[in-house]
């Protein structure tokens, strides 16, 4: 079996429980090269747990996880060195400057030409002027750019992004979106978590919708729609358990109250 035919990501019965609370039900997944795969779900659906398990940030309660041939449970450091992770709401260390943080990350990952890479990504994200400002004094959007740069700095083929565009201005949203699409067309693979359905329409070739720690549906973005009239938002609401009529009724009540 050739290298192109094996999955990059594979988990068998991967599950996470906190006490009695099941954050993620047993889940099997295989992701192959060249995918832009999105996991969507409402708040608290288990998206971040899903991504943290696959990236070695969390140990599963049960199951097996392997990414790029690396066992995510036994060797999370090696895995983290070879993938890019953008967490949902984490900032870079408050008392380091962007340039220091990127140098630190590049050194840990053993990146060749680290200085050149640091400069490239500072420039790419327009952080040149803020290069010596401590991260705590950056805006939320600027901090997010630093986190994105730290995930891209070693040019990994496989990226895990959790709400990657949160706080980014529209210009950089577009710039990053285009970069990610180019990355996939050049053979990269992206695993994305979000509740912004627009991202699925614009970027993903396959998606899954999860709720209460369970996959409700998965397939191509088009394939999930029952008809050509159905929007992705309709699909989402249908699957996560609230009928469209319920939502419309709630909206109407909201409007009549305001009136």
């Amino acid at each position: 079996m050739g290298e192109a035919e094996v999955p990059l990501v594979k988990a068998i019965d991967m599950a996470k429980k906190y006490g009695d609370f099941i954050a993620l039900h047993p889940l099997n997944i295989e992701v192959y090269s060249g995918e832009f795969f999105g996991v969507f779900g409402p708040n608290g659906a288990g998206k971040s747990t899903f991504i943290k398990l696959l990236t070695g940030q969390l140990r599963p309660s049960k199951g097996m996880i392997e990414v790029l041939g690396i066992n995510a449970i036994d060797n999370p450091q090696k895995l983290k060195a070879n993938i890019g992770i953008v967490p949902e709401s984490e900032s870079p260390p408050s008392f380091l400057t962007p340039v220091e943080f990127l140098e630190f990350v590049a050194t840990l990952r053993n990146v060749e030409n680290s200085t050149k890479e640091v400069e490239y990504w500072l420039d790419w994200f327009g952080l040149e002027e803020k290069r010596n400002t401590m991260c705590k004094d950056l805006s939320k959007g600027q901090r997010q750019k630093v986190m994105l740069a730290a995930a891209f700095i070693h040019r990994p083929k496989l990226l895990f992004l959790d709400e990657p565009f949160a706080n980014l201005d529209p210009i950089y949203q577009r710039k990053c979106r285009q970069w990610l699409l180019d990355h996939v067309s050049n053979g990269g693979t992206i695993f994305l978590c979000s509740h912004v359905l627009e991202m699925a329409e614009r970027m993903c070739n396959r998606m899954a919708i999860i709720n209460d720690g369970k996959v409700l549906a998965a397939g191509s973005v088009k394939g999930l729609k029952l008809s050509s009239q159905e929007t992705l938002e309709d699909v989402f609401i249908r699957l996560v358990g609230r009928s469209i009529e319920d939502v419309e009724r709630l909206s109407d009540e909201g409007i009549s109250e305001e009136e």
Partner: protein, 564 residues
């Protein structure tokens, strides 16, 4: 094959098995990096962590103030060095009976190393700090100690670097200025006819010995916290070690001098011993760090409403914001599990004082220690507890609420008092029992509580929500030092009127004639009463000062933002 295959099952549907074989994934041609390891990762992390520590401290205190802090420390040590001649028998050559009326060098060294050990024990709970950093990493502040969650850096390496970084930081910021102060104190000898018994040649050994004591305290604390965080069965090892140690010292099976490694090094001036103990501390630090596993789980825990019942129980505080914030702070204390750690860390210095009352016999020294001498010190340890209270939870969310910083500060002072007063009370009663001084217990309780409330009110007023950073601000340090040492000294000296030694009555007259071998020739009951009144008046003064600080809190912190 291409694409994505994904499916879910119910929890009960799956019979979990662990298959050690590979799942057959590949890197799709990507050349895999091996993250740096060992010494290289230590150095890379140390560089940025040291920078982070320095900036963290610089953030609160201005650059000028952070430089002034070691200068201030040097100055205080210089003055203390000059004062040594009055304490050490060797130099007080003009008095008789020197041996029994003065401290020996060994006792003074003990007095240097024991507080240093206490300080470092309080600062070394790195495993707890790591956990806190991890929990808070999604907040507005993030620290390098939490970086293993996302970066290819083992948690154990990050913690070991943190230990070494803190050791270096305290050596530079605290120990070295102390030695410099001693050096200048000795240097004043020919200039001002001062006769200090310290010699320059002993300073390198003093420095080395202090470094070892500091390292010992940090590493012991690190080890206990790492064992605690590791979970069962390791969790019980730390407390068992502490209890065994306490019993051994209490029953004199273990000599406390023996336990102070730095003290041994300073006494023996043995190079091999110094190297051995230092390496032992570093190796123990390394082993402690190895106990820290790569566990980045932050549990999801569901709890019933604790705020409302807590709020109702605090009705005696009077309805208002303070009652509500105090209730919230107590919920934080219980839910975070910090109440146990904080109570233990508050009780440890008190245990040491109790141990001193038990073991150390001051009868031969020219200081007539009694229950009232201990009382102000019992109230002195509020600083650590208050500091801990300020880092329990980020307060930044309060910026959007109709609450002001002074209200939160006041609430924390109230929490401190409610959470610790019963501990202090138990200790003072135990001391009264040990010293058999029941008569002075009521006054001691008043002195202790007045001092306790005042110290925390002063800390809160001067340092607000960030005492850990503010303590390195020289100007705040000066005010804190003056504000605490002066009343403490007053109470301490006045307490001598109450003991079984009546030296104080004619102290100045007698010591002018007989120096340290002075004894009282007049014992006047009225002096005892005056001493009592003096202590009570200082205590009332401290309570009034606390009230004033309470009122002034609005002026100092009224415009501040919530940021701890």
């Amino acid at each position: 094959m291409s694409g994505v295959i994904i499916s879910s099952k119910d929890w009960d549907e799956v019979e979990f098995t662990t298959n050690p074989t590979s799942l057959g994934t590949g890197s799709s041609g990507q050349k895999l990096h091996t993250p740096i390891r060992g010494w290289a990762s230590f150095i890379a992390t140390f560089k940025v962590m040291f920078k982070e520590e320095f900036r963290k401290n610089l953030e609160f205190a201005k650059a000028r103030q952070i430089i002034l802090f070691p200068l201030l420390l040097s100055l205080i040590t210089m003055i203390s060095t000059i004062g040594l001649q009055f304490l050490v028998g060797d130099s007080a050559a003009h008095v008789k009976d020197i041996e029994s009326k003065t401290f020996t060098w060994q006792e003074l060294r003990f007095a240097l190393h024991l507080p240093l050990l206490m300080f470092s024990l309080g600062m070394g709970t790195f495993a707890f700090m790591g956990r806190d950093a991890l929990i808070r990493r999604t907040g507005t502040k993030n620290f390098l100690l939490a970086s293993p969650a996302l970066q290819p850096l083992p948690n154990s390496v990050a913690h070991f670097v943190y230990f070494v970084k803190d050791l270096c930081f305290y050596v530079l910021l605290i120990l070295s200025p102390i030695i410099v102060g001693m050096f200048f104190g000795i240097g004043l000898e020919p200039l001002a006819s001062i006769n200090t018994p310290l010699e320059v040649s002993s300073l390198p050994w003093t420095w080395i010995a202090m470094v070892i004591t500091l390292a010992q305290g940090l590493v012991f604390s690190f080890l206990v916290s790492a064992l605690w965080m590791r979970g069962r069965p390791y969790t019980v090892i730390g407390p068992i070690l502490i209890v065994i140690f306490g019993i051994s010292v209490g029953t004199r099976a273990l000599d406390l001098n023996w336990f102070l490694l730095g003290l041994q090094v300073q006494s023996s001036q043995n190079v091999l011993m110094a190297i051995f103990y230092f390496l032992l501390c570093i190796i123990l630090g390394y082993l402690s760090s190895r106990l820290i596993i790569d566990d980045f789980d932050v549990s999801v825990v569901e709890k019933g409403d604790m705020l409302k019942p807590m709020y109702d129980r605090l009705n005696f505080l009077g309805k208002g914001e303070v009652q509500l914030i105090v209730a919230k702070e107590f919920v934080d204390l219980f839910r975070s599990g910090s109440i146990k750690k904080m109570t233990v860390s508050y009780a440890i210095p008190l245990l040491v004082l109790l141990g001193m009352a038990w073991i150390v016999d001051f009868a031969d020294a020219p200081i007539p220690i009694n229950l009232l001498s201990y009382a102000p010190f019992l109230g002195f340890f509020g600083f650590n507890f208050y500091s801990w209270l300020t880092i329990l939870d980020s307060s930044e969310f309060m910026n959007g609420l109709p609450i002001r910083v002074p209200q939160l500060i006041r609430a924390k002072v109230v929490v401190y008092f409610l959470a610790t007063s019963w501990i202090s009370l138990i200790f003072i009663v135990l001391m009264a029992w040990r010293l058999d001084e029941w008569a002075s217990l009521p006054t001691s309780i008043i002195v202790m509580f007045a001092n306790s409330i005042y110290i925390v009110a002063l800390t809160a007023y001067l340092m607000g929500l960030r005492p850990n950073q503010a303590i390195f601000d020289a100007s705040i340090m000066i005010w804190f030092w003056l504000g605490t040492v002066l009343p403490l000294l007053g109470l301490f000296l006045l307490s001598f009127t109450q003991g079984d030694v009546s030296l104080y009555g004619n102290w100045w007259e007698r010591t002018s004639q007989d120096g340290l071998s002075a004894t009282a020739s007049i014992y006047d009951e009225s002096l005892v009463q005056q001493g009592y009144m003096g202590m009570l008046m200082i205590s009332v003064g401290l309570l009034l000062a606390s009230l004033l600080l309470w009122k002034l809190m609005d002026r100092r912190w009224g415009d501040a933002h919530f940021d701890n």
